[in-house]
């Protein structure tokens, strides 16, 4: 009986050891690759009201006179991993083209639905649908992970983007997006 706590500790350590590579893999796999120097924004407010504050990103974009490439990904979304892996695989070719952009990485999860996702800009926090309507984005009807927005430093949308990233997962097409080809 006295050995039981030691056994538990041993089991706990073994379990941790087993999960470390998985967690490490998950951290490496989730989000925009570091080569793009993303500004990572985690949500505040918990799962019922996940709020992403674009204020700091906007301030930095204005300071550095850069456009905003805002990416909304989910930790448990395979399509997000696919796009991020595409960016990772082609970083050498793509990163120079991203230089005029400040890449903003909003880290969400699939449980964060349109009703639960809020975007804060300055003093105003809006639910996803209202935010989309306020900027004239046609994607207000349905929240799709991943999503990308392109803004100028004043948060004016530069181009209507598609839901998802499936139409720009080749280098040529990613360049089309960065060059605002419509």
């Amino acid at each position: 009986m006295k050995l039981l706590p030691r056994r538990r500790r041993l089991l706990a350590c073994l379990c941790c050891a087993a999960f470390i590579p998985l967690l490490a893999g998950a951290q490496e796999g989730a989000g925009i690759p570091a080569a793009y120097a993303p500004l990572v924004i985690e949500p505040s407010g918990g799962p019922e009201r996940a709020e992403f504050d674009l204020g700091p990103a906007l301030a930095r974009a204005q300071r550095e006179n850069k456009r905003l490439y805002v990416y909304l990904g989910a930790s448990d979304c395979p399509y997000c991993r696919r796009y991020e892996n595409f960016l990772r695989k082609n970083a050498a070719e793509l990163v120079p083209h991203f230089r005029p952009w400040l890449v903003v990485d909003l880290r969400s999860s699939l449980s964060t639905t349109a009703q639960r996702l809020f975007i804060r800009v300055g003093g105003k926090s809006r639910p996803y649908v209202d935010f989309q309507r306020s900027i004239g984005d046609e994607r207000s009807r349905m929240l799709v992970y991943p999503s990308v927005w392109l803004f100028d430093p004043q948060l004016k949308p530069l181009m209507q983007m598609p839901a998802g990233t499936g139409t720009f997962e080749t280098v040529d097409e990613q360049l089309e997006i960065l060059q605002l080809v419509q």
Binding site: D137, E138, P162, G166, T167, D172
Partner: protein
Amino acid sequence: MPTPIKRLSCDRRRVFMLGLGALPFAMTPRARAAVGGLPGNTGHADLSPEWELLRGRLFGKQPITAGADRVQLIAPLRAAYGASVPVKIISKLAQTPDLHVKRIHLLVDKNPSPLAATLELTPEVGQADFETRLRVDEYSHVRVVSELSNGELHMDSRYVKTSGGCSAPPNRDSPELIGRTIFKLPGPPTMGAPTTADVTVIHPNDTGFELNNVTVMYIPSYFVRTIAVSYAGRKVFDADLDFSISENPTWRFNFVPHGPGELRAEVVDSKERHFTGSLKVA
């Protein structure tokens, strides 16, 4: 009463669908050549094997003038949703009894049913411009072919990048509203001149390719087949449609009110259900 729309075109459409079923096996290497995963014919004015087949079946050997001289198609390279790609058709000639656009065909080369719409027009439209929303299932050319009253055919096309249009879930929140047909005038009518109007039919326009997540069964196709629009008893246009038109099919069109009257739409869907909608214009 407007003339009933001929059903011949629906039968022809089924023939196209059957014929095109074999296309993935018959596509030329050019269309499948992948540079970075993309086919080689992605220019807006490019042809496609699907179009070549459709062209023969729809127009035989009649010459078709390509370019935006007589008709122009406006569509985004990438739309917000593949299930709802906005398209605008602009005709570059006035609609007169002597020379007018008689028929407009709207096609999506790579959709399972590529002929999205055939519009039969009269000079009563005044100006043959139309807007609607399309389902685009995968990367594809969208085309408009305008048939003039003198027999000439003119075509314009756009390459549209999208995916999953035919599997995006329609809104089924209010099934009791199916068939409700609504007219709207964005501005006041102008007597004797082309006046813009919208007609919308509340309808899921199911494609037959969507899976019901609860039953794990495919939802049968169920879509608006025809819309016949008239004003004061005179035909404006007849539309022969398909599920390549988005949920809640909407058309923006023009008509020439010669005096007070009623805009009227007669709608028939693929279950042979008939609906009507009307709007008094004064």
